[in-house]
Symmetry: C2
Subunit: 379 residues, 2 copies
């Protein structure tokens, strides 16, 4: 490891501020940032840190992170959980909260989430409720968590009634996104995370989508394009979060592709061997544009362009690409309607008038969705 | 039951506003308010309500509350838990959250806490985290919860590492304190709640303390004095909470009597047969004033006056009054220091320069506390 003092001047470092008043924080993006994470985290002023990680990520990075925090004089403890979505449970919440309390973390101290979205969501939620709120730092280790879940303060666990149904809005004090960690990420996970990158272009930034079309190979290869893609995604998400921290309006735009995507995840029983979140989102993005075109809202050429790009990077875009199938139209519609009562009536979708021109569309009739899906399933 | 329209003009109704900006709410105090609770809660605009209660309180009031909410067109469900402090657990949190989700409570809907402090703290915490926050209403049924825990937004459960160590700041949308419900409260619980009433006078309102000395019998008997005592306590607490919602400063004054009190609860193993919270607080209030006098900060006559009044209503004031004893000076000191490292150094206490003149006193030497306690234990 290079000495912290030298590496603090990381030339590739991009800082994305999240200006949320007294909850403002920075997202740091760059290669090799984990080497100087100790100094950066210590600069927040804590005396102790509890690292929360999983059995995949911990063995790779936790020892170095612990050493760099201890070198700064922090008392460090570690909580290691099994990897996977099942870890976002009430039982894990109890385990993490009690471990954080056992580590004598006080209000001025820190919880450090070292891992992907599961660890970030769980550790962030524990930080939100231990002593009614201690600070926390996100060190996301997957592309998906670097561009999405580590930013914006949504934390939580799953309930038997659905994903992320129990949680808190709790902003991190710092996000450190080391893009070099993605070098060892399986290609399937890199692609899945990339679906969320593309999403930001599709929501309201046609130029960024065009940049993705031209630069995606650099993003996957780990060149400066990757840092730029992560940073731009964080900027886009931060802008939405600053406008609507608690999701009472605009923040719903971030769900572009997710109404379809969540339904597909549900119908594949959240079995990551069949479909991971980002793959569901990729199909969902394509479906949202195809549905918008079906409704006459969006030029078919734009829907085509979305699909071509997602396919180019190796992501699925059609219902028929769901391994094992996605069930019947009725099952899909059921899964999309959170409440059975909505079925006979109207649903809210995020639709688009074109690439970069998404909008919240309440009042979409279930019959229109049914007709569209019938065509898609047989396609 | 009188029709809601008539009873809404309850002549004995006292409204205490809690002006917390977008989290502002009212505390309603008066006899018989539970009869019109349905209309008042429905006025908040929800479509559904999940009542959380316990096996003692539920059978007394839940059916009437349910009926009055249903009469207003709300869909109502009920979750009934065992009574007692053990219910403030992770397991109960899971049970309440899942029941609230099963009841299809959405962000616009309500959780209604019907019970004492345990139910209010637990239901409030569940409301804070289900869907990252749904609204909730407190219907406190004990004097302690009417004057203390139902106001101010502190919610939570206990951990093996201590009480209330996991929770959230989540303000209720309405508090309905029906003082008639206290008529059937055992005298021991009425006395225990009264210790918190007296506390507000001791903190910063000598006139209210004098009013308590003159009117306590009316408070216990259930006359208009009771409504006034509850309302004045809520006003006092609300004023502190508005100044310092998240307890970064002044709110600590509300802990007057609680450093000693919590230590005594801990040393009696939270066994309510030996000591209930309010009894610990009564002894703690007296000890805080006696310690202030010992340090030369407070006139001994004021400490005497505190003790005389607490004894008059039947509350304990001395360490020797703890049934089964409170252990050694070292055990007491240990229990008071949250962190072993504090032992050799300084502690923070809430002390007083006289009745109504309390202040936060950091830097109290452990040796001074030891000398004081040695005298008290042998007294």
């Amino acid at each position: 490891m290079t000495p912290a003092s030298a590496r603090m001047d990381n030339p590739s470092l991009i800082t994305v501020p999240v200006p949320l008043g007294e909850r403002a924080y920075d997202i740091l993006v760059g290669r090799g940032l984990i080497d100087t994470a100790g100094a950066r985290i210590a600069a927040l002023g804590a005396r102790a840190a509890a690292i929360v990680t999983d059995e995949h990520v911990g063995p790779l990075y936790a020892a170095a992170l612990t050493a760099s925090l201890e070198a700064q004089g922090l008392r460090v403890s570690m909580i290691t959980l099994p990897p996977g979505e099942a870890t976002k449970s009430y039982a894990s919440l109890e385990r993490v909260c009690d471990a954080v309390l056992a580590a004598r973390i006080e209000r001025g101290d820190l919880v450090v989430a070292l891992g992907g979205g599961v660890i970030g969501d769980l550790a962030g939620f524990a930080a939100a409720v231990v002593r009614r709120g201690v600070r926390f730092v996100q060190v996301p280790t997957t592309l998906l968590s670097q561009v999405d879940s580590s930013v914006g303060g949504k934390t939580g666990i799953n309930s038997r009634y659905g994903k992320n149904l129990v949680g808190a809005f709790h902003q991190p004090s710092l996000v450190i996104a080391d893009t070099a960690l993605l070098d060892t990420l399986p290609i399937r996970e890199r692609r899945a995370g990339y679906a969320e990158v593309v999403k930001y272009g599709l929501i309201d930034d046609e130029r960024f989508f065009a940049w993705c079309e031209a630069n995606w190979q650099g993003v996957f290869a780990g060149g400066p394009e990757r840092d730029e893609a992560v940073a731009q995604s964080c900027r886009a998400k931060a802008a939405v979060v600053v406008r609507d921290e608690h999701e009472t309006g605009d923040r719903a735009l971030l769900n572009l592709g997710h109404t379809f995507g969540h339904a597909l995840e549900k119908l594949t029983a959240y079995d990551s061997r069949r479909l991971v979140h980002g793959e569901g989102v990729a199909i969902g993005l394509s479906q949202a544009f195809r549905f918008s075109a079906f409704l006459g809202l969006c030029p078919p050429a734009d829907a085509e362009r979305v699909e071509v790009h997602l396919n180019a990077v190796g992501l699925p875009t059609r219902l028929s690409q769901v391994p094992g199938g996605c069930g019947t139209v009725d099952a899909l519609l059921d899964a999309m309607a959170q409440d059975k009562k909505v079925k006979g009536g109207a649903l809210t979708f995020i639709l688009a008038r074109g690439i970069g021109r998404s909008f919240i569309a309440p009042g979409i009739e279930a019959d229109q969705v049914r007709t569209f899906l019938t065509g898609e399933i047989s396609a």
